[in-house]
């Protein structure tokens, strides 16, 4: 029944994107592992990781789109959920290093030995088990979002105010994680990872597998969000976005509806962060920078807010552009990014995908109208011919 529900709710473009993602999940690792390094179609390992990083960004943008595009909550703190998921994964990876750190301590990560800590803090317990870390990747951001959203939505903190307090949240976390006493590696964060699930994290095979995992997760989350958005709940979500007071007066518990979307979105952001860390090889407090969260917003805006494919396209486009520009003209990148912000808000309020689909829809309608016109003409013409 669930499958039929899912199938029903997917429209063609989503199916296409999911198919592309699944195809990439097979093709890129295959091209990386099975072709010779000098083969024209060979994908070098660094590119596999780079593309994998884009996909995790795309997942983050998708998560933001669920709350911003469909519920009207502009969260300026989504990078915080991303980073929290990343830290949970980072802690697992740190525990996997074991006695191979520079200080050779079998239990404590290097930075704790360096700070003269004698035993593992309580919140590091259990992170040596993957299932526990994976659970925390979802639970920690989810719980933070739940508590934060519970208070914020219940007291009807809206619009700009909500945006600003989410920014304050990520800023507070940034400051907190910079502290050495917090027990998360302070300034340097967590790095020098060795293994994931027993596989060498630097190995080509692991990288390819991580890429495939990112693509699959993104596809899964895309299907999930589509299901959410197309469901009855999704309709109410959009209603909250467009006319919050009216929805409340119709008898819906607006705060519960928002809270659900916000929490799910934070969990997705956490998963994105957890996939990001092993591919990039480091997580540090810089990920909490308020600027990062705002950048996520621009990916979503460029791709098209309120469309589910848009954020994926936007994240890949902007980050691809960033990789190319920062290498070719490092001075120019911030100008380009800044200009992009202004251009998109002024001229592309629906984003690339939104504008394109609107254009297609218009052309379709136009063609249909033209067809109808033709048909009527024919109808009119035939009797004339018959005469």
């Amino acid at each position: 029944m669930i499958t039929s529900f899912l199938l029903k709710s997917l429209d063609r473009s989503i199916v296409v994107v999911v198919a592309i993602l699944l195809g990439l999940a097979i093709a890129i690792p295959a091209l990386n592992l099975l072709t010779a390094p000098d083969h024209p179609l060979h994908v070098p390992t660094f590119l596999v990781s780079l593309f994998g990083k884009y996909l995790t960004y795309a997942l983050l943008a998708l998560a933001l789109d669920l709350v911003w595009g469909f519920c009207g909550i502009l969260s300026l703190g989504h990078a915080a959920f991303f980073a929290l998921g990343g830290y949970a994964m980072g802690m697992y990876l740190m525990r996997q290093i074991g006695a191979r750190g520079s200080y050779g301590n079998p239990l404590l990560p290097d930075f704790m030995v360096f700070l003269n800590w004698k035993e593992l803090p309580w919140f590091w317990q259990g992170f040596d088990m993957f299932w526990f870390a994976a659970l925390m990747v979802v639970l920690v951001p989810g719980l933070l979002a739940f508590v934060f959203g519970w208070f914020a939505f219940r007291s009807r903190v809206n619009g700009v105010y909500l945006s600003i307090i989410t920014q304050a949240m990520t800023y507070a976390l940034l400051l907190a994680f910079f502290r050495n006493d917090m027990g998360f590696g302070g300034n340097n964060g967590l790095t020098d990872f060795k293994d994931i699930l027993g596989f060498n994290i630097q190995a080509d095979g692991t990288r390819a597998a991580l890429f495939a995992a990112s693509a699959l997760t993104l596809a899964l989350c895309l299907v999930l969000t589509t299901a959410i958005v197309r469901s009855k709940y999704g309709k109410v979500l959009v209603a909250v976005r467009d006319a919050e007071s009216r929805t409340r007066f119709l008898g819906y518990r607006v705060e519960h509806i928002k809270l659900f979307a916000f929490t799910v979105s934070a969990m997705m952001a956490g998963i994105a962060g957890a996939l990001y860390v092993p591919q990039v090889g480091i997580i540090n407090p810089g990920e909490f920078e308020p600027g990062n969260s705002i950048e996520v917003v621009i990916w979503t805006a460029v791709g098209g807010r309120g469309t589910l494919i848009g954020p994926i396209v936007g994240a890949i486009l902007v980050n691809g552009g960033k990789s190319i520009f920062t290498a070719a003209f490092p001075e120019f990148w911030l100008f380009a990014l800044g200009g992009l912000f202004v251009f998109v808000t002024l001229f592309l309020p629906k984003g690339v995908v939104g504008t394109a689909s609107a254009y297609l829809a218009r052309r379709k309608a136009h063609r249909r109208a033209a067809d109808a016109e033709n048909a009527r003409d024919n109808l009119v013409a035939e009797p004339m011919a018959a005469e």
Binding site: A152, S155, I164, I294, E331, L337, V342
Partner: protein, 538 residues
């Protein structure tokens, strides 16, 4: 004839005796110095004390050389010389007249050995000697070092110096040094009690430290006195600490107010989430840098006026930039606050990168004019002039802005447009121009804030980013659309921050403040002073 002979004889005698006494003095010092060469390690202390007692300035280089291990005795005749190393030879200098005696191989000389105890004795003897230096700065330093490490032997020297001292600051330090030294000496207990009392009255961290260390070694009879004095100082310190915290809080609050006040206009009054606000502050700071650069190059005499010149220029520059931003971007986005956030964030990136490309990514040097440098003491508070001026300036800007908004026709129009655009437009107000000018005003004020903040912060392309989040917090906390709210918000956040800092540390204090603001907004979603009425929902 006889008389002449007599006179001659007397003159001769006088001359000879004068010569002899001169020789005696030189001989004394010479003997004292030579005595260093023959002394055993245990005797050196006494010999150093004897040298220091002479009060002769020529002793200073000798003692310094001794402390550094550059004092040698000649094996042949026991003469003592200052030396400097030159290859395997030593260059000898006479300790009395500083005459260069020449190079001698090392083997002919014997180094006068010193240990740490001797070095300490040398240091305190030198401290005592510099107490009589002609330079007030040197005397102050000597007095401070004697206060830091009291040495009973130096008490007499301190008292002699105190009797001769004229400089008030040096006298005060000497007084404290004397009291401290008295405590470790073998003077009668009554004197010590008086000294404890004097120290308690003077207060200060040094007195606290000295009394605490004296407490452990003092006689049982003195202990209650010392404890009472300690308590007294601690109370006074707690009081002044609270005062200092309030002062720091006011200072931080004024900085927050300056940074936020322009935002109170663009965000609070106009509803634009102006993320480029921080960059306006930065542009103001760079204007100050440029003005000072020109002044340094061409009119150095005007340097003290540089800020006065920079203020209107910064207002103008950032005002024009603001005007351009409003006309080219923001006017298309009214009523869509979240979109203004994105667009202005983009603008802020562009402005940052422009400044980085033009001026380079590193900090630029902006100097303090002389009237802003330095500090003065007010009771137990240390108040720096630049902080004081910034508080005054912030309040002045606030007052001027309030006057502009509440008492001028331009302000009336601004308020009319922000409260009810359509009605204002129907009354014949040109709303687009009022919008543009309001935004320019907010930006201009941010630029003036930049002039002030350039005095206490690093002028770099990232200057503005540090202020943007705090500014938003202040405006939201105080209540959007209310200037008084911004004032109260800025100062209460500033003081709260500084009172949390001693207990929680600077970073944790800041985190706590952020968490408190987040919780506060749950309670009062519209800030401290919320606007009432229909305008709220619009």
């Amino acid at each position: 004839m006889y008389r002449i002979l007599q006179t001659l004889l007397i003159t001769l005698c006088l001359l000879v005796s004068a010569h002899v006494t001169g020789l005696r003095a030189a001989d004394d010092l010479g003997a004292l110095i030579s005595a260093l060469g023959t002394a055993k390690l245990a005797e050196l202390d006494d010999r150093i004390a004897a040298l220091a007692k002479s009060g002769d300035p020529r002793v200073i280089p000798v003692l310094e050389a001794l402390g550094e291990g550059n004092l040698y005795a000649r094996k042949a005749d026991g003469g003592v010389f200052l030396t400097t190393e030159k290859g395997t030879n030593l260059v000898l200098v006479d300790p009395l007249d500083g005459a260069d005696i020449g190079e001698v191989p090392k083997g002919e000389l014997q180094k006068i050995k010193v240990n740490n105890a001797v070095r300490r004795a040398v240091r305190s003897a030198l401290g005592g000697l510099t107490l009589f230096s002609a330079d007030a700065e040197a005397r102050l330093k000597a007095a401070q070092s004697m206060r830091q490490t009291p040495n009973a032997g130096a008490l007499e020297a301190i008292e002699t110096a105190l009797a001769a001292e004229k400089d008030a600051a040096v006298r005060k330090t000497l007084d404290e040094a004397r009291a401290v030294t008295l405590l470790v000496s073998d003077r009668p207990d009554d004197d010590k009690r008086a000294a404890i009392k004097a120290l308690a009255e003077g207060g200060g961290r040094e007195a606290l430290g000295v009394l605490t260390s004296a407490l452990s070694s003092a006689d049982a009879s003195l202990k209650p006195d010392i404890e009472a004095a300690l308590q007294r100082i601690e109370q006074a310190q707690a009081f002044w600490n609270a005062g200092q915290n309030v002062w720091y809080g006011l200072s931080l609050g004024s900085v927050l107010l300056l940074a936020a006040i322009g935002l109170a206009i663009t965000f609070g009054v106009m509803g634009i989430i102006n993320m480029a606000h921080g960059e306006m502050v930065m542009l103001g700071a760079y204007t100050t840098f440029l003005v000072q650069d020109v002044i340094r190059g061409s009119y150095p005499a005007l340097f003290d006026w540089s800020l006065a010149i920079a203020l209107p220029l910064a207002f103008l520059v950032t005002g024009i930039v603001g005007l351009a931003i409003e006309r080219s971007v923001i006017r298309f986005l009214y009523g869509r606050p979240l979109e203004t956030l994105l667009a202005t964030w983009g603008i802020s990136l562009i402005l940052q990168q422009s400044v980085r490309s033009i001026f380079g990514p590193t900090n630029r040097e902006v100097g303090n004019p002389s009237w802003m440098a330095g500090a003065f003491e007010l009771g137990g508070l240390t108040i720096t002039w630049n902080r004081l001026w910034i508080i005054v300036f912030a309040l002045a800007v606030f007052a001027a802005l309030l006057f502009l908004l509440k008492r001028t026709s331009m302000g009336l129009r601004m308020r009319a447009v922000t409260q009810n655009r359509h009605m204002a437009s129907s009354m014949g107000i040109r709303t687009p121009w009022v919008d543009a000018l309001t935004f320019a005003l907010g930006s201009g004020i941010a630029g003036m804030a930049g002039v002030a903040l350039s005095q206490i912060d690093n002028v770099s392309p990232n200057l503005g980013q540090g202020y943007i989040i705090d500014s938003f917090m202040v405006v939201v906390f105080g209540g959007v659309g209310n200037l008084w709210g911004t004032l109260v918000g800025a100062f209460s956040l500033g003081i709260l921050n500084k009172f949390l800092e001693p207990y929680a540390g600077a970073v944790l204090g800041k985190i706590l403040v952020l968490v408190l603001i987040i919780l506060f907004i749950q309670k009062k979603p519209r800030g401290l002073f919320a606007l009432k009425g229909r305008a709220v929902e619009a």
